[in-house]
Amino acid sequence: MASSKIEELKRKRQLKNKRKKNQVIYGGVLIFIGIIIYILLLKNNFLYSVIWIIGLLIGFTLQKSRFCFTASFRDPIMVGSSSVLKAVIIAFIISTIGFAFIQYNAIGGNTAIGYENIPGKIAPLGIHTAIGAILFGIGMVIAGGCASGTLMRIGEGFALQMVVLSGFIMGTVLGGYHFEFWDRFFISRSKAIYIPEYLGLPLTVTLQIIALCILYYVVDIYQTKNNMMSI
């Protein structure tokens, strides 16, 4: 528990607190609006209504757990704490299992069926992946939020993240505009690699889970060693 000094400071601070407003009522109003939109969507498009509810839950979870993918990359590098990264790895282990079932359901054992027919996010791998990832990594650290974090913080009322979002939109449009260049020289020459095509689905799932578990332990050890970028 916190020490007496901190308790004392907290007590002193509490006395001169500004009157705190209770915002629960606004939350209630927003939930009400959310339900109305859900009902409207349900009438027009069942799929959208499901996505709407899941999105609301995702946003809620992101905000409550302060789940920040940027922090999962940045904090191990900067201050050597990796609690977020560990949580991300656990999320990967769970979704690996779930995705494996969904993919198996869709394609059975036929992993050479063609990438268009495999559900999931499978994309060409090449130099463009690396360049894109590096640009994205730099961007998310200096902007203080990734794509999900930006959305979540706009919801929380950060003006900065609205600027980030407009930059984001400009960047994607610019990227789409230049896509022909990248496609001609890099993307069309590279191919997507779907690991189960080479190893089979069961072995891939097992190996991936083992790899993620090893990663978890490595990160855990790293955290106790606590490396720090010199400031």
């Binding site: 916190a2 907290k10 607190n17 500004k18 915002q23 201050v79 203080g144 929380e156 009322g157």
Partner: protein, 75 residues
């Protein structure tokens, strides 16, 4: 005992943590760092880090979406 106050209002995510880290390095054991922030991530981010470093730490909400984080340097 010294009380050091840093203002991290309107700062984006890594800055509050880095400021705290920088200040704590210059402080003596037993001093308390008081940090004002309105970044919701800080109250988990900074606290998680400070706990791991072995400092005493706690926080209080001082207004809507504004917090004070107290870190007592222990080592």
């Amino acid at each position: 005992m010294l009380e050091v106050r840093i203002d991290c209002m309107h700062e984006a995510c890594p800055i509050p943590l880095l400021k705290a880290l920088k200040k704590l390095n210059k402080m003596n054991i037993g001093d308390v760092l008081i940090m004002e922030t309105d970044h919701s991530c800080s109250i988990t981010n900074v606290i998680d880090w400070a706990k791991k470093q072995g400092h005493e730490v706690d926080y209080a909400e001082i207004s809507d979406g504004e917090w004070e984080i107290y870190i007592e340097k222990r080592q």
